[in-house]
Symmetry: C2
Subunit: 319 residues, 2 copies
């Protein structure tokens, strides 16, 4: 595959294997689309699906999946802890390989239009695809949730980008492009949350740290340790190894050590090669001439990763 896009639709359903099978069917039995992961959260009553593949094929499958979801989900009977405004609550598209943000935005717009035409569900373009400032942040669009959408959409300020009337059973959807982000946590051998807090402050953009880092503290009660938990919103500019080494350096001030780290969700091979390049003393990610397995080995050792394997690398599914 030359171009690869990732799509992570969130469906308002869980614990319904037969209905879920219908929703997932369009992503299966297609050489150019890979269903990578399904995470159901019963308390959220929500399923997060990860699909990657050839952009146009992923888009077509996505539209078909919405048509299926429309048949099996009725929002009038949906309850769950996570805020939601529709049966297919949100559909983010993320550029993975040989795709620009602009191409991904265009793909998300086509997908939004086709979903509306195929299902009559009104669709907002959000995040990088947003046409209006008020549509940039999903929580702003979602405010009021399914139950409040009918009233909310009467205001022309909240006119959807495609369609206008709230769908009686499927509500409203949001479709948009977002940049690839890497969710990364670093373990410290202490249970003192203040230390994780201080280090998070040192490294995050908002308080003077790295430009593309959002970070905070987290306590792992079961392990009795704390983590510096972060999103790397552009790993090509703020490298993961740089942040990892900076956290090791800052930990010294507190006589604390970094004892492990983990990626949350999938990570792409280029990000791993960028990390390996530093430790192998190569100038750039593309100078790392190793197989996917070898890259995983190097990065696992240097970052002291746990719970990591080939299956966490996006490219594992599209070789």
């Amino acid at each position: 595959m030359n171009k690869i896009v990732e799509c992570v639709p969130n469906y308002s359903i869980s614990n319904e294997p037969e209905k879920m099978a219908r929703i997932l069917a369009p992503f299966q039995n297609n050489e150019l689309v890979r269903l990578v992961n399904v995470e159901e959260d019963p308390s959220y009553n929500r399923s997060v699906v990860t699909v990657i593949g050839e952009p146009d094929e992923v888009k077509k499958a996505m539209v078909l999946s919405c048509q299926e979801a429309l048949q099996v989900i009725d929002m009038n009977h949906h309850h769950g802890e996570h805020k939601r405004m529709g049966a297919i609550d949100v559909i983010p598209f993320i550029p993975i390989k040989n795709m620009t943000l602009e191409e991904t935005i265009a793909l998300s717009e086509e997908c939004a239009k086709e979903i509306n035409e195929a299902t009559d569900i009104p669709v907002f373009l959000y995040n990088l695809s947003a046409k209006r400032e008020q549509c940039r942040n999903l929580p702003d669009i979602r405010k009021g949730e399914f139950e409040g959408m009918k009233e909310k959409l009467k205001d022309p300020f909240w006119k959807p980008d495609f369609g206008s009337e709230v769908h009686p059973t499927a509500g409203v959807s949001a479709v948009g492009c977002r940049p690839l982000l890497v969710a990364f946590n670093i373990d410290l051998n202490t249970n003192d949350r203040k230390i994780a807090s201080a280090i998070a402050k040192y490294i995050r953009f908002s308080s003077g740290g790295y430009r593309y880092i959002q970070a905070g503290p987290a306590s792992l009660e079961d392990k009795g340790i704390v983590q510096v938990t972060m999103n790397v919103t552009d790993y090509q500019k703020t490298a993961v190894y740089r942040v990892f080494e900076t956290v090791k350096m800052e930990a010294k001030r507190f006589d604390v050590e970094v004892i492990g780290s983990e990626f949350v969700g999938l990570v792409n091979l280029d990000c791993l090669k960028d990390i390996a390049a530093y430790y192998l003393k190569k100038p750039h990610a593309q100078d790392v001439d190793l197989s996917l397995e070898e890259v995983v080995d190097v990065v696992s050792e240097k970052l002291m990763l746990h719970g990591f394997s080939e299956e966490k690398v996006i490219e594992y599914y599209v070789r």
Copy 2:
């Protein structure tokens, strides 16, 4: 002294000891004002003077110094490599101790007004004191230089904040508040400028590095080495030790070592204490209970500073 401000007027003159003595006299023989440094650059034909002291006294002395400069400098006969628009080209005020940016902005406004009243030189408020977007950056105001100012000021867009007509011999001045910045260079044991360039890119804000770092490469031909040269525009948020340690870490990738560093110009004690705090494993700068000399020793050793001593610390002059 409770409140301390730094003022760094740039005069369009050099190699004129008697005239310079008149310009500097108002900063001398005043218990509440210290003349800390005079740097004359003959090829620039420009002198940069550093004064610190009690805010109101510094302001009064600054106005008197402008009156003297007006008597001894004629811009119609001034030539030099540095761009300039007036006899007292620019007067930055920097908060040093117990002064907010707001107080420093107010002080710069009073000073600008009083200079105009005392000399008839038109004055622009620039940088943080700017009242209009076009006046924020000094180079934008200075464009056209002394010779082009008469024509430039006919445009109401470029009306000075005080006064209106270009002074026939002294031109135009700019007065404003800027935050304290730390100019810091790190030496690498290589003459490969590409390496300094790559590391500068890793650490600077514009390409994904630390929020308050501007950085680039520099070649020291005489020493046969390169430097990562930087401005730390807010050392309280992007700590100097953090950047220093990050450069050490990045240098490893190139099998290069950090062999020294230097501060350019004066640095304040709080910045040095912030650095010492990290290496002494103290939580904050204020936990460093050392004399000025002891702090200088610790920081000199840890940062491998050269050309550093008590005389480079602002507080040395106002104890």
